[in-house]
């Protein structure tokens, strides 16, 4: 319970700072799949667009992502997170064949582990942005393509989708991603809906800003510093 309160207090504070709204006016609800959301009043006149948020935790970090007028998913993980099972066995069980191939080609085990964690956080960020839960977007039904120096892409895994009974009805591909390294210790993935309406928008930045917050003590903009290294 305490963690929930502290996360919500952080959310409240950040939302207040951005939106000039009394944080006490925020109410929260859950969507039908259990995803926490802001209960947005339709007669809310002080903000033109509804706010969306999403939260992720590791043992020492809470990340809260906030977006205007677009669903958002965020995931953080320690860069050096070790798994008990081997990377490739986890990938074979949960990822798509193309993602397994991508990982299998990496000969250095540390580098392979890092790419796995990157893919893991990206896939989680997408599932959380969709807001339908893990079973609404099973990891093996969509692929994330991570190529150096180009935009992260998501695509449905055609064969799995065609074979499965429910298809991949709820999976959409119009999402944008940001992947960053925080304090050289964490990978952070952010996923928001892509509303570019077909325009070529590689050159349009996501406009990602990152604050380092220690509740009631510090609130510093750190994007643009070494604390936040954008990978894509």
């Amino acid at each position: 319970m305490l963690a929930s309160v502290s996360s919500l207090v952080q959310t409240n504070k950040r939302l207040d700072t951005d939106a000039n709204i009394d944080p006490r006016s925020f109410e929260f609800k859950k969507n039908k799949f259990g995803k926490p959301e802001i209960l947005w009043q339709s007669d809310e006149s002080s903000m033109e667009w509804p706010l969306h948020f999403n939260i992720s935790h590791t043992s020492s970090l809470i990340a809260c992502g906030i977006a205007m007028d677009t669903p958002i998913g965020i995931d953080v993980e320690e860069k050096k997170r070790k798994t008990v099972k081997s990377i490739l066995s986890l990938a074979r069980r949960y990822f798509t064949p193309s993602e397994v191939d991508y990982l299998a080609k990496i000969s250095d085990s540390d580098a392979q582990q890092k790419e796995f964690i990157k893919l893991w956080t990206l896939k989680e960020a997408y599932v959380k942005a969709l807001g339908r839960g893990f079973s609404g977007a099973p990891f093996n039904r969509f692929s994330i393509q991570l190529e150096t120096n180009s935009r992260i892409q998501i695509s449905k895994a055609a064969k799995v989708c065609n074979d499965s009974a429910s298809g991949c009805d709820y999976l959409s591909e119009n999402w944008r991603f940001a992947l960053a390294e925080l304090n050289s210790s964490y990978y952070m993935s952010v996923c928001i809906e892509d509303n570019s309406r077909g325009f070529e928008n590689d050159s349009v930045p996501l406009g990602l800003k990152v604050w380092k917050t220690i509740p009631f003590i510090e609130d510093t903009l750190v994007s643009g510093t070494d604390a936040v290294k954008l990978i894509t």
């Binding site: 319970m1 963690a3 929930s4 259990g34 986890l90 893991w120 380092k212 509740p215």
Partner: protein, 136 residues
């Protein structure tokens, strides 16, 4: 990085960021809640409670995966949300259970699992479905 105020607190019930429709272990030392547990009505009927040996095997797998300190009690009643498994731990535990029991766990069938006992009951059910004679 400066410690977060309150990092000494146990994250017993972090904000639930996503869906209840699946096996999840949010809480304890980590709360990456893409997978998350909360008490839910059972969506499947089990014909009997889980076998003791199944519960024990699940406890072993969970203890190994989470590298719990010596002496940590894990029993049938243990809630996954209290044991501190995050989403990666969760999928590794599921994989471990699949390998140990030669079953395949669908995301949707894991949705009502809250305790070790629930997981063991699901395993017994899946194992029984694989075998020609009823195990109950």
């Amino acid at each position: 990085m400066a410690p977060i105020a309150g990092s000494a607190l146990s994250f017993a019930k972090p904000v639930k960021a996503t869906n209840t429709n699946l096996l999840s272990f949010a809480g304890g030392r980590k709360g990456n809640a893409f997978l998350r547990m909360q008490p839910m009505p059972m969506r499947f009927a089990v014909c009997c409670s889980a076998k003791k040996e199944t519960v024990e095997k699940v406890c072993d797998i969970v203890k190994k995966q989470l590298a719990l300190p010596e002496g940590t009690e894990v029993s049938g009643a243990s809630k996954f949300s209290d044991l501190g498994a995050d989403s990666l731990d969760t999928v590794e535990i599921v994989m471990g259970l699949e390998e140990e029991f030669h079953i395949s766990v669908e995301e949707s069938s894991a949705q009502s699992i809250a305790t070790v006992e629930d997981a063991a009951a699901l395993i017994d059910k899946l194992v029984a479905a694989e075998s020609p004679k009823s195990q109950c």
